[in-house]
């Protein structure tokens, strides 16, 4: 899952083209600020997918557990 998100992130980044236009004075810290704005959609999207996927898995495993026959204490006792 994480791998897919990472690849999505790189592709997203590479798809961005820089079309420069005038802006205020920029320093090396600005690059760190910019990269976050550029990858924000991808990391945010990836995070949402990951969160929903985890929730879905948890729900599914709960449903699966419910469908399984529950072992009663008497069963346990008998098996001893």
């Amino acid at each position: 899952m994480r791998r897919v998100t990472d690849i999505f992130l790189v592709l997203f980044f590479l798809s961005i083209t820089f079309t420069p236009h005038a802006h205020a004075y920029l320093d090396p810290g600005t690059g760190s600020y910019l990269i976050q704005l550029l990858i924000g959609g991808a990391v945010g999207g990836g995070f949402l997918i990951k969160t929903y996927w985890a929730a879905l898995k948890e729900r599914w495993s709960k449903l699966w557990k419910k469908k399984q026959p529950t072992q009663t204490s008497s069963d346990n006792h008998d098996s001893k």
Binding site: R3, D6, L9, A24, L26, T30, L37, V43, L48, K50
Partner: protein, 460 residues
């Protein structure tokens, strides 16, 4: 006594650290009142302290030192301040994970870290803990202001340590605000770019930094919002990148550090017994085990006495000791990497922002086991010099003399011309006798070595 401001505490307008009569205080300025009250009133402080992630503090009755002061707090004391260039790989990694975890939790309380300096983390009672109570600000929908700092202070040095050389966190010693990403990517193997998270957070990050460092142009609106989900995604991505950095197996498969000694198990146990007896007779408050290796004797001292600092030149040995401390929940041992022949200097503004090692270490007893031959023979240090330096550090000394007949010394001499005519037990005792009174000496059975207990002369 006049309070003195900490020489490293001048950059942050939110407040500063000062000390008085050995107690550390932190003044919080009115300019930070809103954020500090939010930290406390939101419940974030209680949550972080209860999870042992943030150093606890008490409100102090000490008056602020100037009219900018809102209040003064008294944080709990740290046993020994150490810096990231003195940490092992796992220590730096744990400090990075702590920083990210705190940011994750802070976001739940509508707050965010405004910096991610590795100097904001210390090791307290065996675990990393965040010490800068003034690093929190109200979250606004903006990119993480500490992102660059996190990459330079944690991600880049960790990658360099894991992929190039384990000692490269020493680069932090001459790069005060972390390793510049452009330097890091120039050294890192290019195969590292195959991993998307490192490609983005290190390589592309460095590229964009360079692209905009001397340009007045940007294609992106800097006022663009950065949503909470995006922020959480960024922290999640950094967490994954940090978790995945690990040492190659070849580096983590430690040999038995004590297997190559010239004495057997019985003698080793005898040495332990003698050491315990000597320590018990001294009852030290705080011991510094210099050249502590993986910490066998440091931990032994910790079992019988209160506080122990343990240092070694070998980063893997310290990594091993740190892992043991973590696993066994040892709370009274602090370990760090240090070459006693070249201890960390003062760095930064006026050479005072980060203190020299000897200013941070306050101990009453030195433990120098199987060390003297490395100092005297490997480093050509005269006995007088060693004794003088030790006497400046601590009033009590437990030291092991390893004579020339010892196979370990013979090993050191195999590739050296033996110019060490003065290396004898007699001249050792004579030199150390100038600075110390030798109060006890015990030969270790089954070896040619002797353990000494000494007390500094001027304290008699």
């Amino acid at each position: 006594m006049i309070p003195s401001n900490h020489p490293a505490s001048f950059r942050d307008p939110s407040g500063f650290i000062f000390s008085e009569n050995g107690t550390i205080y932190r003044q919080i300025n009115h300019s930070y009142q809103h954020e500090f009250d939010m930290l406390i009133n939101s419940g974030l402080y209680d949550r972080l302290v209860s999870e042992k992630l943030l150093i606890p503090h008490q409100d102090s009755t000490h008056a602020p030192l100037n009219d900018q002061g809102y209040k003064v707090i008294e944080p709990n004391k740290i046993l020994c301040i150490t810096y990231p260039y003195e940490w092992s790989f796992q220590m730096l990694k744990d400090a990075a994970m702590l920083t990210l975890k705190i940011q994750q939790i802070a976001l739940e309380y509508n707050m965010s870290l405004k910096d991610a300096s590795s100097y904001n983390v210390q090791f307290h009672q065996g675990k990393p803990i965040f010490i800068d109570t003034l690093s929190f600000e109200e979250y606004t929908e903006k990119p993480w202001v500490a992102y660059k700092q996190f990459c330079q202070h944690f991600l880049a040095p960790l990658a360099l340590m894991a992929k190039v050389d384990l000692s490269l966190n020493k680069m932090l010693e001459f790069n005060l605000d972390g390793i510049p990403l452009q330097t890091a990517v120039a050294i890192l193997p290019k195969t590292f770019t195959l991993r998307p998270s490192y490609l983005i957070h290190l390589f592309i990050h460095a590229y964009i930094q360079r692209l905009y460092s001397d340009s007045k142009k940007s294609s992106v609106d800097l006022n663009k919002a950065f949503s909470l989900t995006q922020m959480k995604g960024l922290i999640d991505s950094l967490t994954n990148a940090t978790v995945k950095i690990s040492l190659p197996n070849t580096q983590t498969e430690w040999g038995d550090y004590y297997a190559n000694t010239n004495y057997g198990d019985d003698s080793f146990e005898e040495k332990k017994k003698i050491l315990v007896q000597l320590l018990t007779s001294i009852e030290p408050g705080c011991v510094w085990d210099i050249g502590g290796n993986t910490g066998v004797f440091s931990l032994l001292a910790a079992e019988h006495h209160s506080l122990v600092l343990s240092s070694d030149i070998d980063p893997l040995a310290i990594d091993r000791m740190y892992s043991y401390i973590q696993k066994q929940h040892v709370q009274n041992v602090a370990c760090f990497i240090s070459d006693i022949t070249n201890p960390s200097p003062g760095i930064g503004w006026m050479n005072k922002e980060r203190s020299p090692l000897y200013e941070r270490v306050s101990v009453d007893t030195i433990l120098a086991l199987a060390l003297i031959h490395h100092l005297a023979i490997s480093n050509n240090l005269p006995f007088d010099q060693i004794a003088y330096q030790f006497s400046l550090i601590a009033p009590q000394l437990i030291i092991e003399f390893v004579p020339k007949e010892d196979t370990q010394v013979q090993r050191l001499l195999t590739t050296r011309k033996d110019i060490f005519n003065q290396y004898s037990q007699e001249s050792f005792e004579e030199s150390f006798g100038k600075f110390y009174t030798i109060s006890q000496s015990v030969a270790i059975p089954g070896t040619v070595r002797t353990l000494y207990k000494m007390v500094r002369r001027n304290l008699e």
